[in-house]
Amino acid sequence: MQNSTNQKPVISIHYLNHYFGQGQLRKQVLFDINLEIAAGEIVIMTGPSGSGKTTLLTLVSGLRSTQSGSMRILGQELCGATNEQLIQARRHNGYIFQAHNLHRSLTALQNVQMGLEVQSKFSRPEMEECATAMLEQVGLGNRLNYYPENLSGGQKQRVAIARALVSHPAIVLADEPTAALDSKSGRDVVNLMQKLAKEQKSTILLVTHDNRILDIADRIVHMEDGKLVNNSTMSMAA
């Protein structure tokens, strides 16, 4: 059971089961999941539709309560965690959604600032400075005051990446971040994520159907019918 490496894993999942629905309709979607991800690792999760990838991601990120098994994120057990603990856990993560989910009343800059404001430890000028620098890094230094409606799909997804990474999260979670993009912008977006995460030493767990981006992964895990197959958890990469 105990990990043999001296480095503590950032994400450590053991015997995780998850069910949806109640009573007669209760349906198990995740079965005995075991997965450990070390700091700085980029793990890609693939698998057919409905296999439970998104469900696992929402559990890792604290968006859903873990029902049974163990889910330790940065040393914190999320199984049985209080609502407040879940909220705190969410603040360690950067999220990149399939849809960009930018706030349409906010400019690119303001959207990115929202990723910092939640930490409530920066002053306004600091937030503005960080957010500007982040947008420059994703190549949108000349679009700071654009509203999402005036940005292309790829640009919007890059703003979303900037928003997720601006607070230098320990863990980056992405659910099909390239699904809404053409292959060129999809590739750009993934390269960008890889580059920034490496710079910030973040750990990445990325769900995708897109075979063209698998090359950025340190490790690939496959989900099938709620079970991780070819589970390479114990064979630590690096």
Binding site: R91, F97, S123
Partner: protein, 389 residues
Amino acid sequence: MIFKVLKNRTPLGWLQLKHDKMRLLTALSGIAFADILIFMQLGFKDALYTTNTQYPRQIQGDIVVLSSQATNFNKLSTFPRRRLYQAMDIPGVKSAEAVYLGSLDWRNPQTRKKTSMMVIGFDPDRPVFDLPEVNRQLDKVKIPNTVLLDQASRGEYQEVISQIQQGKTLTTEIDRNTVTITGLFQVGASFQDDGALITSAQNFLQLFPRRQVGTVSLGVINLKDGYNLEDVRTYLNAYLPQDIRAFTYQEYVEFELNYIQTSSAIGFIFGLGTAVGLIVGIVIVYQVLSTDVNDHMAEYATFKAMGYRNFYLLGVVFEEAIILAFIGFVPSVAIASGLYRLTAIATALPLVMPVSRVILVLILTIMMCTVSGAIATRKLHSADPADIF
């Protein structure tokens, strides 16, 4: 701490409102409509209270003495004039004047129709009302069987008015007496009587043969300099027999107001109008805010996924509500003031905009928007971050 958080906070509510100009406009017109409705209702209510307490308000005195049976200006009952002489013995009392009040039917000189008029009689050498028009003409009523007519009396008086203004006099009948109208003044009708006549105490007693000079309706007391109003009033109540009650001028106006507020439907009718205005406002603001919450569900869920608390989102909705309240309120004060002036000109009702009403309506507006906001936030709980991945 709170201040620092607020200072660093992105004004999300304001940015959301600003982004959708149509929605902002809808909300603002809704609030302005509700506020103007409320302002008009409150304005009319107060105007009616004022018009129905005109004479009490115009009394020129420090202390007013009434029979302890008195319910309001139209039902004052009477008390012995001796009480006023007794009052003169009390330290600080400079003068105590008797006022006689009664109601009778007279024939409108123009239409010959019988209508009820209030008649006020007092010593023409000692004015008791703060009505310069009346006080200037008091010499005229020293002549037997003459009266001054309130030209704002209900009914048709245009010819009468123009004749008197040309310097002529007019006669009409009251019971078997013939009286001459020698002058005009302007106060306004009340619920009770269609109009009013002012005359001398002697003429009054002539018109009301069953009333005696020794039984008066109301006493007006003025004090010497340097005496405390409340002290003298208290002393009067203690010193004089229990068949009278003394009020300070302010207390007496309150007494009259209280009567009209509790005994008439004015408060209920216009209170209802105000409530309707509030409900209209709540419904419109709720519509706008809940549409806004619905439209931003995915964004709000994203914020929750980023680690924002539900409380933060509640704050956004309330921020919107408060902003709407303030910017909807400002134009409505301006518009209502204009409407007050127009209505005052058209109806001769004394519509004014006191600061207290401005503050009251502002508070009502904030409450209205907060209630709407509170209902609109119920949907926030369904912004589930687990459903947006």
